[in-house]
Structures are given as C-alpha cells and as structure tokens.
C-alpha cells in the first residue's frame, strides 16, 4: 500500500514538473489519436449519411456489420494489420510497421464502425420528413442532406468524440503495429502497460491520470459547448 501511495505522490510530481518523457508520450497520444479520429470522421460521415438518409437493399446487413465491428477486439485488429503491414504482407512495401503512420491507420480503422453506427443512428433519429421539408422550401438534394445533418449535429459530434475516446484509450492496435518504441511510437496506453511491467508505478500512474483527465476534459468541453448555460446551473437542484 505504501508503494502505491508513494507512486501516486510521485506521479503528481511528474505531472506538475512537466517531465519531458511523460509529456512526450501525452503529445504523441493526442496527435496519433487526433489524426486517426479526423481520418475516421472523414470517411465514416459519408457512410453514415448514406446509411441514414437512403434506403437500399442490404442496408440493414451493412448497418449490422458496422454495429458488430464496434466490438472488434483491438488486439485482433492489431494482429491483422501487423500481418498486412509486415515485410511479408501485401502492404509491407509501405514500410509502415512500427511507425506512427501504422498506429494512426489502425486506430482510424478501429473507431470507424463506432462513428458510423452512432452517426447513422443520429441521422435516422431526425424526422424522416425533414428532407422533404427542406426540399419543399427550395433546397436541392445536397442542401436538404445538409439540413438533416445539422439537425443531427449533436449526435454526430457525440459520435466523433466517442471515436476519439476509443482511439486514445485503446492498447491492442498501438502495441501490435506501433511496437511501443520509446520516444517514437509509445503512447499513453502502451507506455502505462510497459512502465507497470517494469515496476515504475509512479510513471504508470501519472500516465493513467493524464489519460483520464484528457478524456474527461474533452467530453466536458463538448458538453459545455452544446449548452453553455449549464455552467450557471451546475450547483442548482433540478426543477
């Protein structure tokens, strides 16, 4: 128990001292997962729009597939990508394995089903007549689609944030295709794991605290941005 308590105290010391090792890991995590989330949003949003706004044969199968893939074990995806990106794999020539690029690609693929599923549900939750409403007011097909997306905005933002959270908190993909190389591909989750294995509890605890703070802060910012008045009513009893 004393070791754990000492670890916690030293963790806060590392955080507040601006330890370069810790903050290097934090920066890499934010960068890799941030880029991965953006990439995923770029290709997931049109897919969600198609699934949410159109009816076509096989739609429910595709939706089911994306929902199922949400539960894809990260280490399984990591292994799959490792095989693809390794020297003997079909994309080995890209030289991506054990580079930040591999982590970004892997995490983007990992969070795509989550973003697609949540965003599709958000778009489908918009009244189906909204497209017709926009069109009868003079909107073209694309303008009407944008009108629907605006109505689904909160849900889409939620899907994007959920994607980022999943990306920054995952371990399997980053470990398998990134290799946790110190100062290069080590991120919050992989570094926490390796520091713990080494017995360096204070650094591991510091990294975990920072990960929690990041996830909590980003979600809080999103919630407050959607409803700024909440800040003034935080302490009040619900009416």
């Amino acid at each position: 128990m004393n070791d754990i308590w000492e670890g916690i105290v030293r963790a806060f010391q590392l955080i507040f001292s601006g330890d370069p090792t810790v903050y290097g890991i934090v920066f890499r995590s934010l960068f890799f997962s941030g880029v991965a989330a953006i990439l995923a949003v770029l290709w997931a949003t049109p897919i969600a729009m198609l699934l949410g706004l159109r009816d076509f044969r096989g739609k429910s199968i595709i939706k089911g597939l994306f929902t199922t893939l949400i539960g894809l074990p990260t280490v399984a995806l990591g292994l799959f990508l490792w095989l693809i990106l390794s020297k003997v794999g079909p994309l080995g020539f890209l030289g991506l394995l054990y580079t930040p690029g591999a982590i970004i690609l892997g995490e983007a693929l990992l969070v795509t089903p989550l973003i697609v599923s949540i965003a599709t549900n958000a778009i489908e939750a918009v009244d189906p007549e909204m497209m017709n409403l926009a069109k009868t007011l003079g909107a073209s097909e694309s303008q009407a689609s944008i009108a629907v997306l605006k109505e689904a905005f909160n849900g889409i933002i939620f899907s994007d944030v959920a994607g980022f959270n999943r990306a920054i908190a995952e371990l399997g993909v980053a470990l398998m295709v990134g290799g946790n190389l110190a100062g290069f591909t080590d991120v919050l989750t992989t570094a926490t794991s390796s520091f713990t294995a080494r017995g360096d509890f204070s650094t591991a605890i510091a990294l975990s605290i920072i990960l929690l703070v990041i996830v909590f802060s980003i979600n809080s910012i999103i919630i407050i941005a959607r409803n700024p008045r909440m800040l003034f009513t935080l302490g009040r009893m619900p009416q």
Partner: protein, 353 residues
C-alpha cells in the same frame, strides 16, 4: 380561368399498395381548392405530388403548361411550398426557420431580414424572431411553419390539415392568413382538410377524395347540397349523422339518427337529413346541466386523444359524438376513459349538410 396545374391519370403506388389511382384534376390560378376525404384517402400523397416531392408511378403533371419530369422537378419546387400536417421546425430560432427558404435561394440578407419580419407579422408572431422555434406552443409552431412557406411567395401553397390539433384561437389566425394570402397575393392554395366548417367557408372548390380516387370536384355549395350521403359515408368529418327528420309544432326539427338518439335542430328539416355538430360547440359535464340547450345526452367516454392544446373525447350516447375541450378543462374535471358524462349542445349548433 388560367390553369396553374393539371394532373392527368395520375397513379401513385408504394410497393403493392395503390395510394392514388387515375387522378385527373385541374387547379386554377388564384383559387383555394380543398381536398376533403377521410384519413388514408390519399390527400397527403396528392399534396406531395403537387409539391414535386413524390414522383407518380404513372400519369402526367403539368405545371404552368410545362410537363414535370425528374429533370425539372427541382426547379419546379421553387414555385411551390408545402406545410406539413405534423409541424416540423429546424432546431434553431424562429427567424432562421422562416429565413431558410430565402437563404437557399441566395436572397440578400437585407431582403431576408425584411421579408421574414413581414411574414411574422402576417401570422401575428412579431417579436418572436429570436425565440427558439421548438420551445413555442403547438399553435405558434404551426404559424412559424406557415410563415416559412408564405415568405417564399410561391405560386402554389400546399397545406396539409393546417389547423388540425390547434385550439380555436390559432386555427382562426391560420384560416384568416389563408384567406388574406389568397386574396392579396393571389396565391393558389390547395389544402387538405376534414373540417366541415373549414371546407364550407374557405375554399372556392372542393375535391372529394376517397381510397385514392377523386370522386367529384365542385364548389362547396354543389358538394354539400348534393352529396351529403357521400360525405357522411366518408366519415371524413366528426359528428356527421344521417337520420330522418320531422318538423315539430315549435317550428324546430327532430332528427332521429338511430340507437335512440334524437337531435333537435332549429332548422326546418324533413325526411332524410344529414346533420353536423362542431365538436367545439358541445359541452361536457359530469352532471346534467339546466340550460337553454335542447340537446342533452348521457353517455360514456370511449376514447380520449391528445390534440396539442386540446383534448378530443369520444362520448358514446348510443351514437358516438366527438367533443373537443381544452386540456385545462380536461384536467380540472378529472375525466377518464369510461367515465359517465353528459353532452349538451344547442339546437342552433346543429348544422345541415
């Protein structure tokens, strides 16, 4: 009269279901045409076809002499605007809602500002521009939806049950706006309704529609004078009864509508008659009232439905009567399904169809 739109042998199918069948109809410029028919008769589908939102499975639509095709339907839609029965507003301010169509048409901001304020004035919502549209009352929301369509000053305005589920005050405002818009802007209006009073008072012509087919298009006087039996059989209208009338010594008439229910009317009716009582003119009470009203019946509440600001009760007195009361009255009286109540209405309220 100049033709604005012409439908020829129009058919609309959804899968195996035929919703509109061989509809042939003309819409004249500057008129108000009502589509009168029961729920599921195809009124909304017909309005969507006229709004160029639905492509018919068969037949032809001409608008201002031009045949409407898939290629030109987007351009044609700029000439019409539809207000849906279920009020749909964007999750933004009243101003942004009303301005939407103008912004899509890339109208200059100064003009948008001016036109939005004018439209809000027409529907008596001045001062509401900054308010969140979704936080307004049902009646106010419907007026915003109407303003959003009116501001576009389209040739054709399509209204799907514009006053359904509204309280009398808001319904009155909307009916007034419809008449004013048609009179002053010469806007052609096609409106779906099953409100008998509205169908008699507002449109120039009425198209009777049932099971996807137009059975007759004529003036209100012709429709109500000649086809009372058809109207009643539509069940398109609440509280429409067919019965046998006899004139009393007092100069009123008693209409036997069956199941022991006899209605007294101030009208001198004889023989077969179709009568109608406005649901809003019937009073509900828990005890029999002593009043000047000639029609008092005891019955049970067999259905209760929420209509926004009001509540619709079905009271079975032998025959079912629809009664519309405010939500406040409903709550204060603690009415419930199966409750025994009295319905009361004046002989003056009994209208002949």
């Amino acid at each position: 009269m100049t033709l604005l739109a012409e439908l020829t042998n129009l058919t609309c199918c959804f899968g195996r279901k035929t919703v509109l069948e061989n509809v042939t109809m003309q819409i004249h410029e500057g008129e108000i045409l009502a589509l009168l028919g029961p729920n599921g008769s195809g009124k909304t589908t017909l309005l969507k076809v006229l709004a160029f939102l639905l492509k018919p499975s068969n037949g032809e639509i001409k608008f201002q002499g031009e045949i409407v095709t898939e290629k030109n339907s987007e351009r044609m839609r700029l000439q019409s605007a539809m207000v849906f029965q279920k009020t749909l507003l964007f999750n933004t301010s009243v101003f942004n809602n009303v301005a939407y169509g103008l912004k899509v048409r890339k109208i200059k901001q100064e003009v948008v500002d001016e036109e939005v304020m004018k439209a809000l004035k027409i529907v008596r919502l001045e001062g509401f521009e900054k308010r969140s549209a979704k936080k307004l009352s049902g009646g106010e929301q419907q007026r915003v939806a109407l303003a959003r369509a009116l501001v576009l000053k389209t040739k054709l305005l399509l209204l799907d049950e514009p006053t359904a589920n509204l309280d009398p005050k808001n319904a009155g405002i909307i009916e007034e706006v419809i008449l004013t818009t048609n009179r002053e802007q010469k806007t052609t209006i096609v409106m779906a309704t099953h409100n008998m009073f509205q169908a008699r008072a507002i449109p120039h012509r009425i198209a009777l529609i049932n099971q996807g087919k137009i059975s007759e298009v004529a003036t209100a006087a012709e429709i109500f004078g000649k086809l009372s039996r058809d109207l009643a059989s539509f069940a398109a209208v609440d509280n429409t009864f067919i019965g046998t009338a006899r004139i009393t010594d007092a100069g009123t008439s008693i209409i036997d509508i069956g199941k022991g229910v006899q209605i007294e009317s101030i009208l001198k009716l004889k023989g077969e008659a179709t009568v109608f009582i406005n649901p809003q003119e019937i009073i509900v009470s828990k005890k029999q009232m002593e009043s000047s009203a000639r029609n008092v019946f005891k019955g049970r509440i067999t259905q209760i439905s929420d209509s926004g600001a009001s509540v619709r009760l079905t009271v079975d007195v032998g025959k079912p009567f629809i009664v519309q009361i405010t939500k406040a009255s409903y709550c204060e009286m603690e009415l419930s399904f199966g409750a025994e109540v009295f319905i009361t209405f004046k002989a003056l309220s009994v209208q002949s169809v």
